[in-house]
Symmetry: C2
Subunit: 242 residues, 2 copies
């Protein structure tokens, strides 16, 4: 059985400029793998309406799920909700349940739900809210697009609430072997092993550290028995590995 | 004057699975910003021929430069050179100058230039080699696509050799102000400031740390005088910032 597929869309001027380092992608990748959803593409685009619309449409059509991060706050450069609504062809307006969540939050804080903050209650028609236990302003799932905050602590909290609602497949299992030999020494044997075992995927990831060339060989499959068997063959092929 | 634009294409099964965290993107983003090239999109795709071809074609047509990382080693899963050659419609074959570089390297190391390692001398016709001072096997620039290794130390060394060959524009200058107020409190004033100063881009990046909500406000422009002026206005608007 094929696992559901997903893409991530990062709305990220600050990442493209090199000002900040994205943290959400790595978190999402691990969480989806554990949940049995295959992350098959990531795109990072600038905070520009047309670019977000175009990427959201392309990814929403190509994958089972799209996860976005960034651009859902109260400021002028927070334009993700507008772009996702346009990409899906649905209207965007203040949602009363979202407004109530914000009102209660700012009442508790003794702050005003001003016009800027009220922008965060604008939700595409028909969307389901995603709970934000950190700072109240909700994310949303519109169609197959799940819109979440860019601040890592909020992104992670939203994802933790969202993931159990999504159907995953069998998790992809992996094991790895660290071989202190250059890839060129092991490539031929590895290629033969990969060809003989199409039920697993075998990846080789070179490293170069402290003057030492080596390779991490990773065997992946939904079939744990097959992973065990191929790992056994690898250990016999490279008995010096550890 | 518009700066040249660029995209990055990461060939990255191991990043999509969450096994490793990409490091090259952040390095490239900073280096391009310093060089006056605007990184306008990043895509991460799996180690699948058709997906690399499709993404390379789309990005090569849309931007002045495409920088790739990953998939140029000697193993069966190193398929980037094949995919880039197909994307650009040029033949791929063993290049004698690349073979000579590899032969000299492995002679020095007392290792054999075997069939797997010789794969790394396969270069698309007409490409310029990119020097690899770390482990010899060269990258290449084919058309506007610059193909580099995924191992961060090698990626960075290749980029350092490549960038001076590429024409940059005026670097985008930025200054930032850290305001310990929630975005909702400053959004309205910030929106007005952005509308009144179209020659700069003003971004607001919320943070939430140790129970404190705040915003980093970033002003960017190729015009340093305009950045200074708008920063002055920001400091007057938020005198408590630091």
């Amino acid at each position: 059985m094929q696992n559901p597929t997903a893409a991530m869309l990062v709305i990220g001027d600050e990442i493209l400029s090199g000002r900040t380092r994205d943290a959400n992608m790595h978190h999402l990748a691990k969480a989806l793998t554990d949940h049995g959803i295959r992350l098959a593409e990531v795109r990072i685009v600038p905070d520009e309406h047309a670019r977000i619309v175009e990427a959201a449409r392309a990814l929403s059509g190509a994958y089972d799920h799209v996860f976005t991060s960034g651009g859902i706050g109260p400021t002028h450069d927070d334009i993700t909700a507008d772009a996702i609504a346009e990409a899906l062809g649905v209207p965007l307006g203040i949602r009363e349940d979202a407004r109530a969540i914000l009102q209660a939050h700012y009442d508790r804080q003794g702050q005003e739900l001003n016009a800027a903050r009220l922008r965060m209650a604008r939700i595409p028609e028909g969307a389901a809210l995603i709970d934000n236990p950190v700072s109240a302003a909700p994310g949303f799932s519109a169609g197959n697009v799940h819109v979440m905050a860019g601040v890592p602590s909020i992104f992670e909290a939203m994802l933790a609430g969202l993931l159990p609602r999504l159907t995953g497949g069998a998790p992809v299992l992996s094991q790895s072997l660290r071989v202190v030999r250059g890839e060129g020494d092991i490539a031929s044997a590895l290629g033969d092993l990969a060809a003989a075992n199409p039920e697993v995927s075998i990846g080789s990831y070179p490293f170069f550290r402290d003057g030492v060339h080596g390779s991490n060989i990773v065997v992946r499959s939904q079939d744990g028995t097959a992973v065990d068997r191929v790992m056994g063959e690898l250990v016999r092929m490279f008995p010096e590995a550890g």
